[in-house]
C-alpha cells in the first residue's frame, strides 16, 4: 500500500524585504513579495527523498493555508516533484494565529488522508516553531520533530534530533508528524521539466465549509492571542567605526574597557 505523505508549506513575506504590520496589526502581505518559506523547502526535499527510497510507492501532497498568492508556494513544491496540492483559502482566515492554523491544517490533513506529515522546523516569518507539535497534538499521533536526518522503513519513521544538551535517535510508528531542520540536506532546484510538469498537476481548493470549521474559530476574531502594539525598532544610533591601521585591536579593547566588559 502506498505511503501517503502530506507536506505543510507556508507562503511567507520575503525576509530580505522590508516587512511591516498592516493597520490591523497582522502581517502586511501587500508590501513585500511572498515566496515558499525557505525552511519548508527542506520538508519538501525530505518528502521527496522518502518517496524515492520507497521506490516511488508514495504520493506527496503539498498543503498550504493562505490567500490566493499562496498557490505560488504550492507550485514551487510541485515543481520540485510533489504530486498534488491542496490549497485552503477563505477570506475568514485573515489574521488566524498558530492555534487556528493548526486546526485548519489538521482538518485538511485528515480530509486528504495521510500516513506521514512533514513540516519545516519553523516558518521564516512567525518563527514560532510550534506548528508540528500542535499538529501532533490535534491529530493524536506521535511527533518526531526537529530532525536533521529522517527515514521511513516499513511503517516506522526514524530520525535524529540534535538538541541543546544531547543528540537523540527517535523512532515512531506511522502515522506521525515529522519536522526537519535546515541541517537535513539542501533542497533541490526545480528542473525546467519539473516547472513545466507542475503546471499540469492538480491543486484542490478547499474553504472553511469543506473542513467543517466555523468562521469564528479562525481569523482575527477567533485568535486566542492579540497584538496590542507593534512599534518599529528605533534605528540604532550610528556606532563608532575605525579602520585598522595596526591599532584596531587595541582601540577595540579600549572601547570594551570603557563599557566595563574588561
Amino acid at each position: 500500500m502506498s505511503l501517503r505523505i502530506v507536506v505543510c508549506v507556508k507562503y511567507v513575506p520575503d525576509a530580505t524585504g522590508d516587512r511591516h504590520f498592516a493597520e490591523d496589526l497582522t502581517v502586511d502581505r501587500d508590501d513585500v513579495d511572498g515566496l515558499l518559506s525557505e525552511l519548508d523547502e527542506y520538508a519538501v526535499e525530505q518528502a521527496l527523498q522518502i518517496k524515492e527510497a520507497a521506490d516511488d510507492d508514495a504520493e506527496i501532497t503539498v498543503l498550504t493555508v493562505g490567500p490566493e498568492d499562496a498557490s505560488d508556494a504550492l507550485r514551487k513544491a510541485l515543481s520540485m516533484g510533489a504530486d498534488k496540492g491542496v490549497h485552503v483559502e477563505d477570506d475568514d482566515l485573515h489574521g488566524t494565529d498558530a492555534l487556528g492554523t493548526s486546526l485548519v491544517l489538521a482538518k485538511a490533513i485528515e480530509k486528504t488522508g495521510y500516513d506521514l506529515v512533514v513540516c519545516g522546523m519553523a516558518s521564516t516569518d512567525g518563527t514560532m516553531g510550534v506548528l508540528p507539535a500542535l499538529l501532533a497534538e490535534r491529530l493524536g499521533v506521535p511527533q518526531v520533530t526537529q530532525l536533521s536526518e529522517v527515514s521511513v522503513e516499513g511503517g516506522t519513521v526514524k530520525g535524529r534530533r540534535d538538541g541543546d544538551t544531547a543528540t537523540e535517535q527517535l523512532e515512531a510508528s506511522l502515522p506521525a508528524v515529522v519536522s526537519v531542520t535546515d541541517q537535513s540536506g539542501e533542497a533541490r532546484y526545480p528542473s525546467f521539466k519539473g516547472i513545466m510538469a507542475a503546471k499540469k498537476k492538480p491543486v484542490e481548493s478547499l474553504d472553511l465549509d469543506d473542513l467543517d470549521i466555523e468562521a469564528d474559530e479562525v481569523g482575527l476574531a477567533g485568535a486566542w492571542t492579540k497584538v496590542d502594539e507593534a512599534a518599529e525598532r528605533p534605528a540604532r544610533t550610528a556606532g563608532t567605526i575605525v579602520k585598522d591601521e595596526g591599532e584596531g585591536g587595541k582601540q577595540l579593547a579600549e572601547f570594551l574597557a570603557g563599557q566595563k566588559f574588561i
Partner: protein, 320 residues
C-alpha cells in the same frame, strides 16, 4: 495572590539560568509554583525557593526520558489541573515551546512564544516580543484560556526572593498515546567548558571571514579571554567549520547577550535575526560596506586575523 506555573529546565536537578529568569518574571504576575520533572528535585528545590518558588511540584517517571515531549505535557497538564494557575511560563527552548504548544491545545488556551519581557496588565500578562528579525517590537496578550507563554533566555536578570519552596509530589499518569515517539538513544553533547550560547553574557562569533575550521581557534581564544560563548554564522556552519549547535541566526540560536562580537560576519538578515537584540554589538570585518556595520556600537574595518589576536592579547593583559 494567583499562582503562576513555571516549567523548570534542569539537568539532574541543576537548574538552568533561564528558569531563574522565569521565576523573576513570574513574580510580576503572581506567586511562582515550579514544576520539576525528572530526577534531582531535592537539589533543585533549594535554588527554586531562593528565587521565589512558593511550591515545587515534582514528578519522576522513566517515561520522561524514554519518550519525546508528550509525557511531560501530561505532567504539566496535571500540575495545571492541580493549581489552576493564572499563567504557565516555559523557557523558549525547542522542548519548552513544544510542551507549551501541546498544553495550550489541551487546555484551550492561546500561546505566545519567544517573549523578551513580561509584565502584569489589566487583562492578564502582557508579553513583549521582538519580531521580523528584531525590526519590530510588539506587545501581545492571550485573550482565551490561561496564558501559556515561553520566554527567551536573557529576558530578565534573576533576582533572589526567598520563598518556602515546599516540595510536593505531583500524581502523573502518562497516557498510552503519549508514548508514541521513542527515544532510542541519547548521546550527551561533550562539554566545551564554555558558557552556554543562549545564556552567555558575552558571545564571540565567527563567519565566512574565518575561512576554515582550522582558524576557529582564533575566535575561541578571544572568547576564552572574555569568558564568552562561541557562535558561528550559517555560512561557517554550512561550510562545516563549526557545529550547527553553535549557529546564531534564524535557523540556529537566537542570542541576546550584553556584548556580541561578530568577526568576519557580513550580517545577512538571517544572522541579524539571531543577534540584533544584543545590548552592545561589535564587529570586525575587512569589508567596510558589510551590513553588520549598520548595527554596531563599535566596528573595526580590518583583517580579523590581525585585529582579533591583538584584542585577545590586550584583554589578557588588562585582566592581568
Amino acid at each position: 495572590m494567583a499562582e503562576v506555573l513555571v516549567y523548570v529546565d534542569h539537568v539532574d536537578g541543576a537548574v538552568r539560568k533561564p528558569t531563574l529568569e522565569l521565576l523573576t518574571l513570574a513574580r510580576r504576575i503572581g506567586e511562582p509554583v515550579a514544576v520539576h520533572l525528572g530526577p534531582g528535585a531535592d537539589t533543585a528545590a533549594a535554588t527554586l525557593a531562593e528565587h521565589g518558588a512558593v511550591k515545587v511540584l515534582t514528578a519522576d517517571a522513566p517515561e520522561f526520558a524514554d519518550y519525546l515531549v508528550a509525557p511531560k505535557v501530561d505532567a504539566l497538564q496535571a500540575a495545571y489541573e492541580a493549581v489552576s494557575p493564572a499563567a504557565v511560563l516555559l523557557p523558549s527552548s525547542t522542548e519548552g515551546k513544544e510542551i507549551g504548544a501541546r498544553l495550550a491545545v489541551r487546555i484551550g488556551s492561546g500561546i505566545i512564544t519567544d517573549a523578551v519581557d513580561l509584565e502584569a496588565g489589566d487583562e492578564g500578562p502582557v508579553a513583549t516580543q521582538s519580531v521580523f528579525a528584531a525590526s519590530y517590537t510588539t506587545k501581545s496578550r492571550i485573550t482565551t484560556g490561561t496564558p501559556v507563554i515561553t520566554v527567551k533566555p536573557n529576558s530578565a536578570a534573576p533576582e533572589a526572593a526567598p520563598a518556602a519552596g515546599t516540595v510536593e509530589q505531583l500524581a502523573v499518569t502518562v497516557a498510552e498515546t503519549s508514548k508514541g515517539t521513542k527515544v532510542v538513544s541519547r548521546t550527551p553533547r561533550e562539554s566545551t567548558g564554555r558558557p552556554d550560547l543562549t545564556e552567555a553574557a558575552i558571545v564571540v562569533s565567527g563567519g565566512r571571514g574565518v575561512n576554515g575550521a582550522e582558524n576557529f581557534p582564533v575566535i575561541e581564544a578571544l572568547a576564552d579571554s572574555l569568558g564568552a560563548a562561541v557562535g558561528a554564522s550559517r555560512a561557517a556552519v554550512d561550510a562545516g567549520w563549526y557545529p550547527h549547535t553553535n549557529q546564531v541566526g534564524q535557523t540556529g540560536k537566537s542570542v541576546s547577550p550584553q556584548l556580541y562580537i561578530a568577526a568576519g560576519i557580513s550580517g545577512a538578515i538571517q544572522h541579524r535575526a539571531g543577534m540584533q537584540t544584543s545590548k552592545t554589538i561589535v564587529a570586525i570585518n575587512k569589508d567596510a560596506e558589510a551590513p553588520i556595520f549598520d548595527l554596531v556600537d563599535y566596528g573595526v574595518v580590518g583583517d580579523l586575523f590581525e585585529v582579533v589576536p591583538a584584542l585577545t592579547d590586550e584583554v589578557k593583559a588588562r585582566k592581568g
